[in-house]
Point group: C4
Chain length 279, copies 4
């Protein structure tokens, strides 16, 4: 069965088939454009660059938005190929409110609606969310799934670790405030500031803008730093054991999956049961 | 058998049954109140906030203590439902001296006994210990048990690691004192101060308040920092292998446990042998 | 069959046979000479050392280059012993363009071609690449293979981790720029500078040259630092599980390999099928 | 068979039997004395403490040395109980030259030989080595053995990791010198100083005494910091997989060991084959 133009466009834009080289080129082009947008977005804040290349940067911004708008329109137009969004009106509306499409919209909306968002710089920062579109790239999706699965499996342990860490942060910072407030009222004026010190110390960043100077404060800070490093070992251990588990589970699953891969298109059949008609 | 009011209250306050939504709401309410107390406790130390919201913060403090006192009274009154503390006088006395109840008491005592603790701020910091009450929350208790079990199983390895770390800290700081004392007597005036430098370096915090400037001191500091980073790999490795062990043991145990879960209430039967009569 | 002089030289220079003590001495000598070159290369930049030991350092440099040139010539002359580079002209040419030989050439070329590279210091820095020659050393090659294999197996997970990390870096630094630019325009003048702060924070280096001072910036920096530390746990977990996998695979392979080690020379027979004729 | 006084003393000082409570007390007493010596050693360098407590500290030092001398004499006298050092002269001489006894000697020698070591402070620092005596304590020896075994098993991987790390340090620091020397000749005057910056960065300590300011230097430093953090994941992964291996091996071994534990004294019989006569 020969595909229609809409089906062809849909395959290029949304398809995950690695044999479709046009789709690969399209994905790469959008990816490069996003990265270039991030670079220009950063460079626009550099005063000397903005002065000199104002026109180039603005032109590139306008072109980018037009490309992204065209891509967005193509997606909305062709989405009815997907059986899940078959209806020309309600299907498209439901498609528009999927997270990925909302991200796409947020990348172009700030350009068209300067009335709604008068602070144009902040509005532009929303385009960063377009970055998440990368996650869609097929070749990475398997690995990303593993990482998310590990986090999901180990959710409870990670939350309780963060909870213990926060307990340490709060009690440590409060004690630090009492130990150091007298000696250096400027560095430790209140507990929230002491908690800033606590975060910087327990993550071992250690800027050095605030640090204890009294013997009691230093002993306390030393104990906190050691405990902080010890607690940092917890998520690593949790995630390492999670990766090992996930890997073993995935291996078994994969062996099972190989049996139900479609020999015609290379896709997994039970993942797209509605596509069964295509061969 | 219809439960009495005391049994009903006991189930709400001390019960770990996830189907009891009143108990869940009660736990959440106390949890939110504790967190709010921590926030106000921190904000009270910020001078500008204290000046402006003195009355609100004080009122919130009084209300919180009354709520905590009421909760404490309910716990002591209803504890006789638990067969372990059945006796109205001795049971309650034994209950009062359990760690969790002592923590609860320490949260409200500083308010009622300003004569015993005239320094009201320090007294209030005891209320932080109420934070530990969170650990009781049923849904986290399993994960917390795993973390504690891992630490217990690996206790010896972790102690010996800390011991080796301390050995490195002490000898390194002493050598550093001899290397740098001549060049910068202010930064390295004595070995205890050099040990402060050592803790900040070996935990990789690195504030930058004290650092070597002589070639010999820098080589020594470089070696120490590398060794410190190497030793930090030890607890991570220990804990990671501990998590993996614990996980495998737990999985086997769980499979066994499923067979003896009560189909009526969802509790594990062999964990509450005295509750066997309830179905 | 008695080996010719060329074969004998080839065994010494390129051979990985641990019983060949002349080859071991040769490897050690070249290794020590490389390390000494690195030391003198560093010391030449110290002004006081350069003033005093100019002649010694220059003489050592010339001698080193001559030794390295002699070694290079021997390698090119003897390479025809290897069946892969048997042809006296085309084999040698192909040998010269192997990566290791190009590294060797880059170590001596800067000395002979000062016309091509007038900035003699930068040219000398190319000699650093000779350092990689160490990787050839037989006794380390097994372990290095494991490390590279682990990185290769886990390539996708590591790339996606780096990608998530970069996403966090870019979005965090951009938000930080908006939070801190007003308060301290010098520390956060533009997003590229904010990204420098982001790299220093997310790797927990924390120099302290740039740090937030506004409450919003500090809360943001705290969240970023915690997330950064959390993401650092990912590669560790990935690599730890990779090492465990690789180890188990290697163990099985090794058991198999032992069966096909040549009892006469100690080499693995199926690795050098063309050498089968030697016993 | 009733033990003689010498055997009794030997059991107390050198014995690892946990039922011998006199030996336990003796070990604890020596341990506490060592820790107190470390504390006084540190405090003596604090000028104000030294001025005020000179007599107390000196007296404590003299008493400590006498106790350590008495302990050393007892060890040398009673060592002949051990079949390995049975000969009253040659056995004792061989015993004196065992590492542990040399450490013991080094703790007291600096006191008796101020002529050999006129710089009394440095001499005293040798007493630190007495600290290693702690490692002898029976209850920790098993865990320490595991840690050492893990390092031994993974020796090659750890060395090659350090080698890769050093390669990165050297090349990164050299490139950094070329990138930053022009902009800040004081911070990066030569490559050795740049390497100090490199060590501080690659271990993520980040004092902030030296940091790049040029865009090229910052990009280079960012890449180096990320690579440094990535390499830090390697030893953790290596050690974690090593711990897991060692644990499994140990478990199998232990099961075997249980069969040959002496039912009379609790010691492992095949560890002290010469003690077989004691039951």
């Amino acid at each position: 069965m020969k595909p229609s133009l809409k089906q062809y466009i849909f395959e290029i834009i949304e398809g995950s088939n690695k044999d479709n080289w046009v789709g690969q080129v399209f994905d790469s082009f959008i990816l490069v454009l996003i990265v270039l947008n991030l670079v220009t977005f950063s460079l626009e804040t550099v005063h000397s660059v903005w002065i000199e290349y104002k026109e180039v940067l603005t032109a590139f911004d306008i072109i980018s938005v037009f490309v992204f708008t065209f891509e967005y329109s193509l997606r909305v137009w062709s989405c009815t190929v997907n059986p899940k969004f078959r209806h020309p009106v309600w299907g498209r509306l439901r498609f528009i409110f999927t997270p990925l499409l909302l991200i796409d919209l947020s990348a172009i909306l700030p350009f068209y609606l300067p009335l709604f968002f008068p602070d144009i710089r902040f509005a532009r920062s929303i385009r960063l969310f377009r970055f998440f579109r990368l996650l869609k790239l097929t070749r990475y999706s398997d690995s990303l799934k593993i990482i998310f699965t590990v986090f999901l499996i180990k959710k409870e342990e990670l939350i309780i670790t963060f909870f213990v860490w926060f307990l340490l942060l709060f009690s440590g910072s409060s004690l630090m405030y009492f130990a150091e407030h007298e000696a250096q009222a400027k560095a430790f004026p209140d507990i929230p500031t002491a908690m800033w010190w606590g975060v910087v110390t327990l993550t071992t960043v250690g800027y050095g803008d605030i640090y204890p100077i009294t013997p009691m404060g230093r002993i306390l800070a030393g104990i906190l730093a050691v405990l902080g490093v010890g607690i940092l070992a917890l998520p690593t251990g949790i995630i390492a054991s999670g990766f090992y588990d996930e890997l073993q589970g995935k291996r078994k699953k994969k062996r099972h999956k190989h049996a139900i891969i479609c020999p015609h298109c290379g896709n997994l059949i039970d993942e797209h049961p509605s596509d069964k008609s295509h061969h």
